[in-house]
């Protein structure tokens, strides 16, 4: 009874700190929403109305039909029709066209006679991902056309694979960003905010007073992180809700399981936050360490933005110690694939081990500091 009373006095105090500080409030509630919206609408890898230039030296059935298909796909819009071979480099430097398509003379005739494809694609690779995307989309449309015209081609040449995108059939990048944003936000709220708030008490000297009180250090820390645990859960819920209602991202799997895994990740982040706060004595250092040692790796090494498979071996090994790496796999499995714990028990176990280790170390460090 006595200790429950103590605990709630603390939690109340901590909530008051958070509510009174406009900056904290902004970080807690403004950033998550801004990030999801930003990643959902603005920063997108999806192809949408990319401007293309066309040089049609054939002017035949084939060139017309393919052009029509490209333009009606929604991925491309016609910037201009060129009438003489363009200076491709100059065209790209002007920066308007992203892709240039050139049909050779007698394009349709040569195609139908099986003499190959007299077609040339040039892409502006100053943005390599975009260039790849453009070429892939255009090739897919062109290949489909050729197969319709010449079904025999499929057997004669190599087999054309038919591609179907599972779990994210329209390849919406928001599906990729939501789990990533969630892990960044949770890391931000749980680890950075707690480490700053503990450091603030040290800086202002109020920690000393708390230490002289009969409240045990572990109790102080638990009461301190409890409001952030709640806030993080609220944040996670609002991100999932935003993704679901605004961007149509499904939650295929169990919502309950999702909640538990989110909780596990939050606890791991809180462990990191407490650990940082035991190492530093000012708010500024706490913030710098959180940003550099936690936020950046969470963004860069978790597979959120850069695929882990494409990293050099050394960096790949480094990703193993990033909690968000495992969390991302779990979230995607639950939200997009709708599978159960049987498919990601390994990731869960790794995360749980990290969580226990971090909480254990930070609580131990707290005690040592007091001796």
């Amino acid at each position: 009874m006595k200790s429950a009373n103590r605990f709630f006095s603390f939690v109340k105090k901590e909530l008051l700190h958070i509510l009174r500080d406009k900056r904290t409030l902004l970080i807690l509630f403004g950033i998550p929403i801004a990030q999801v919206v930003l990643f959902g609408f603005a920063i997108t890898n999806d192809l949408n109305n990319a401007p293309i230039s066309i040089l049609d030296r054939a002017h035949d059935q084939g060139s017309r039909e393919i052009t029509e298909r490209l333009l009606s796909s929604g991925y491309f819009t016609l910037l201009d029709n060129l009438d003489h071979p363009p200076d491709i480099e100059a065209a790209f430097r002007k920066g308007k066209a992203k892709l240039i398509i050139e049909y050779g003379p007698d394009f349709y005739q040569q195609l139908m006679k099986g003499r190959g494809l007299n077609l040339f694609l040039a892409a502006d690779a100053s943005d390599p991902n975009m260039a790849n995307l453009l070429v892939n989309y255009a090739s897919a449309i062109i290949n489909k056309y050729i197969l319709e015209k010449l079904p025999a081609m499929a057997n004669q040449r190599r087999i054309q694979p038919e591609v179907k995108m599972y779990f994210n059939p329209s390849m919406k990048s928001v599906f990729m960003f939501v789990p990533g944003v969630m892990s960044v936000i949770l890391m931000l709220v749980s680890a950075m905010m707690t480490s700053i708030s503990i450091a603030r008490e040290k800086e202002q000297g109020t920690m000393e007073v708390l230490m002289v009180s009969p409240v045990k250090p572990v109790q102080i820390i638990l009461a301190k992180v409890f409001p952030y645990l709640l806030l993080s859960l609220v944040n996670a819920a609002s991100i999932v809700a935003l993704a679901y209602f605004v961007f149509g991202m499904p939650v295929q799997g169990s919502l309950f399981l999702l909640g538990l895994e989110v909780m596990l990740f939050i606890l791991t982040s809180l462990g990191l936050g407490i650990l940082i706060s035991t190492l530093v004595s000012t708010q500024q250092t706490a913030m710098m360490i959180s940003l550099i040692a936690l936020m950046l790796p969470t963004i860069i090494l978790s597979g959120f933005i850069f695929p882990i498979e494409n990293m050099p071996r050394l960096l790949q090994i480094l990703t193993y110690i990033i909690p968000a790496r495992w969390f991302l796999v779990i979230i995607k499995d639950i939200m997009l694939k709708g599978v159960g714990i049987a498919f990601f028990w390994k990731e869960t176990l790794i995360l749980a081990a990290m969580c226990l280790l971090l909480l254990g170390i930070s609580i131990k460090k707290l005690k040592v500091r007091l001796e």
């Binding site: 103590r6 006095s9 008051l16 009969p214």
Partner: protein, 240 residues
């Protein structure tokens, strides 16, 4: 004669090779204002931290408010009050919120906190300012509030670690009046200070240098013994 409220015997604390507090022994009577003086680095803070149950002594023993500082530091903590040189209230909480928080920390029941808060507000003259944020109060009032809050659980001993650092002379005087009242109410006051004139206000003072106690007595007796006009001279003679 009642039992002394603080009994310290041969208390020592080492940090590696460095001995911060070197076999100090003293007793403090209940209701006394006990001044603890010393230059920076003389071992004052280390000694206080051990008395408050924050730091484990390397050797020696001590009883504070009837609790053993080695065996039961948590009991010590619940029986003492503490106010540090750095401001110990939360500036972004209101007067009342601070009082309630400390009441909660020391495990007081809600009704009791309410009753004592009312008394405390009355005594410090903060009527009508209960909802004001502590950060908006003048320093003098904050200091008074900090001391009253440190006493909310009616501790037997209160430790004040340089409570008047950086405070103007008038506020300092008012603060000492509060200390007198506290002691008159039966609470033992253990106070460290840099200001030698404040030493004159204490019932007894203890002067530490290099981790050891150099002198411990009533200010008048010390002045006579060292043939000094005031405590400042006593301190300079000893510290040399």
């Amino acid at each position: 004669m009642p039992e002394p409220i603080i009994i310290i015997k041969e208390l020592t604390r080492k940090f590696g090779d460095f001995t911060a507090v070197n076999h100090i022994s003293f007793e403090v009577e209940a209701g006394e204002i006990f001044g603890f003086l010393g230059a920076n680095g003389a071992g004052k803070t280390t000694a206080i931290r051990m008395l408050c149950g924050l730091l484990k002594p390397s050797s020696g023993s001590g009883m504070v408010a009837g609790a053993d500082i080695l065996k039961n530091p948590n009991l010590v903590k619940s029986r003492i009050g503490y106010m540090s040189q750095r401001f110990s209230l939360y500036e972004d909480l209101s007067v009342m919120e601070n009082i309630r928080l400390y009441g909660g920390i020391y495990g007081l029941k809600k009704a009791l906190v309410k009753k004592r808060a009312a008394q405390l507000i009355e005594k410090t003259g903060l009527n009508g300012l209960e909802k004001r944020l502590v950060g908006d109060l003048p320093l003098g009032w904050r200091q008074k509030l900090a001391l009253s809050t440190a006493l909310i659980h009616r501790p037997q001993v209160v430790f004040l670690d340089e409570p008047t650092g950086g405070v103007d002379p008038i506020t300092r005087k008012q603060f000492w009046e509060m200390i007198y009242e506290t002691a008159a109410g039966g609470t033992t006051v253990f106070v460290t200070t840099h200001y030698m004139d404040e030493a004159e206000y204490c019932d007894r003072v203890c002067i530490m240098t290099e981790g050891m106690i150099r002198a411990l007595d009533k200010p008048d007796i010390l002045k006579k013994k060292y043939d000094a006009g005031n405590m400042d001279e006593v301190f300079l003679k000893l510290a040399r």
